[in-house]
Subunit: 364 residues, 2 copies
């Protein structure tokens, strides 16, 4: 008899759209979890050319007698397009999948965002389950129901809010994650500490080496704490009318970097890392964050092997793309500003000169 | 001083997504109504090549100093595609429209469904206002938040629920509506009588000639009553978990006709007319609806100049498309069955032989 590893469960509380996030080792191969959280006979398994060869067979095995159709997408952020979502929908139609089928997203944020958007729009919304296989997806993108694709004019400009039926974060899938992707995921983890949890930031400073060495206990801890924070914030503000926007800390800068470089040179998490440092710099330039905090953030990012600037992108290009970001309000760029490590707020009335100095310091 | 015509207002009650339906003469030229219901400076006016030359100038005039960008689509159901929605999003991006812009849909159901879907998915959801200019859109498609496009495999297979901020039904725009489109709109009006309002059906029998002659008072009455019924049903079941499905009376048959004929020969309302008669026939074949009621329905449809069968579509093709409809559940086609004029229910356990006899009688 096999002893099943412990499964940690957090619940995103959204009334009739509530769902569990399951975190543990070996989840993707457990038929009992699919039986509990995936209903219906027909499953569209969406994955990419990198992840499918590693984990699709285990998932299909655990799905038992269900009818499983696989849709394997090319890997990479620049493939996150409406054309590829349209292809997923073609597969659903071609296989005559009804409203009671389930889309299963097996992969990182790109796979999850596209599979989720296909589920959001096929027959005006069908069920989907997230099986994130990157650290970034496990701590961030698989949770919260943001789905969508990029437009040449900007990141995630087309999309919908559509909550999954469940999120299964299997920490064992991180074993095959390239080190660069692991680092990128850590950027989003640091974000949670910066936003609202100074003790977690302290913990990360103490355990960064263990994380980079893929210590399973350390990874499980950061996934649990990150999901807990995200589930609470999303539960209070599903549609980002207010508080949820703090989760975008660093992201307006990050999206500008990604868009300016055509989504194919920077990983999202790398751009977020630079964006976090830029947000800290802006706060310092506004006279808020003490230099010692900025220095701590910089040190931890550098220790994690993450970038803190984007000199290959011009200030003009960055500003152009930032103006196209979804967070623009009445022509003014809304930014999340960290006041200190563990506290942040949303601002449109930062001094322009402070933003200019920040951009000049961090862009080319 | 100009005396403003009376504006009838119904409210779709959906919590923070509640919105008004305004019905009256000359609404599209009234700046006061846009000031009350359309916020933000930037407006994407979506229309088609038929409607724009007739009414776009009046609307733009009433929008005052707002920045208005026009996106004019080709006319017709077979242009209701994801590719055209993608074009609308390109226009939004190209003009750097932010999350605080509004999409204004000026036209029939095709324009409204596409503009609404673009609004549903641009930046994960922006505001839109419906200005339906066909009877069908005024009594049905502009109300209730169903947005989307067709897929070669089926009608409205891609879409989202996204409620408008307001619906402005200007009865004067019906003056230019081709007679065929007027008849098509009447099909959806008859539907409301059949679903839940026998006295309204009686009224329609008595006033069908006035409607066909475009008596403004009669038209205003049917728009008001139809919107009232639809607003109540949508208010109780926004996402069609239950009761709202009755609004699909005749529509599974209708969508099969439309899909089988490539969306370019039948108007949606014409297909609905045939679908209503088929649903009545099915009910009769199930031993429910008395022959006298079926006869009344047939007589009124014929008086309205609407079709009651689709012999150019084969039974096999019809069945094939019906199985692809969104209403399929566990492999079984869910149908709305009228029990009598003014009462209907949703069924999956009608006798197969009754459906077969219905299809054999009404298809080729």
């Amino acid at each position: 008899m096999r002893v099943l590893a412990h499964v940690y469960t957090y619940r995103v509380e959204l009334g009739r759209r509530s769902y569990p996030i399951l975190i543990g080792a070996g989840l993707i191969a457990r038929p009992d979890l699919f039986d509990q959280h995936l209903f219906g006979r027909d499953v569209l398994l969406v994955s990419n050319t990198t992840v499918a060869p590693l984990y699709a067979a285990a998932v299909v095995g655990a799905l038992g007698s269900r009818r499983v159709v696989e849709a394997i997408l090319p890997d990479g952020e620049h493939h996150k397009t409406l054309a590829n979502v349209s292809r997923l929908i073609d597969v659903l139609v071609a296989n005559r999948f009804g409203r009671d089928c389930t889309v299963l997203a097996l992969g990182g944020g790109v796979v999850g965002d596209m599979a989720g958007f296909a589920a959001a729009t096929y027959q005006r919304g069908i069920a989907y389950v997230q099986i994130p296989t990157t650290l970034l997806a496990q701590v961030d993108s698989a949770v919260g129901g943001k789905t969508g694709v990029n437009h040449p004019g900007g990141k995630n400009l087309i999309g919908a809010f559509h909550q999954p039926n469940a999120v299964l974060a299997d920490v064992r899938t991180l074993a095959t994650l390239p080190q660069r992707e692991l680092r990128a995921g850590i950027a989003e983890v640091l974000k949670y500490g910066l936003i609202c949890d100074a003790p977690f930031f302290d913990w990360l400073e103490a355990h960064i080496d263990g994380l980079l060495a893929r210590d399973l206990e350390a990874l499980t801890h950061v996934i649990r704490r990150s999901c807990e924070i995200k589930a609470q914030i999303v539960g209070r503000d599903e549609y980002e009318h207010g508080e949820r926007a703090v989760l975008n800390l660093g992201h307006t800068f990050a999206h500008a970097i990604e868009a300016a470089t055509g989504y194919d040179r920077w990983l999202h998490g790398e751009a977020v890392a630079a964006g976090l440092f830029m947000a800290a710099t802006l706060s310092y330039e506004c006279g808020l964050m003490p230099a010692t905090d900025v220095e701590r953030i910089k040190r931890l990012l550098v220790q994690a092997g993450l970038p803190i600037d984007a000199h290959q992108v011009s200030v003009a290009a960055a500003l152009e793309h930032m103006k196209m970001d979804k967070k623009v309000q009445g022509g003014r760029i809304r930014l999340v500003v960290p006041r200190s490590i563990g506290e942040c707020f949303i601002s449109v009335d930062y001094p322009d000169a402070a933003l200019q100095r920040t951009l000049a310091a961090c862009f080319g």
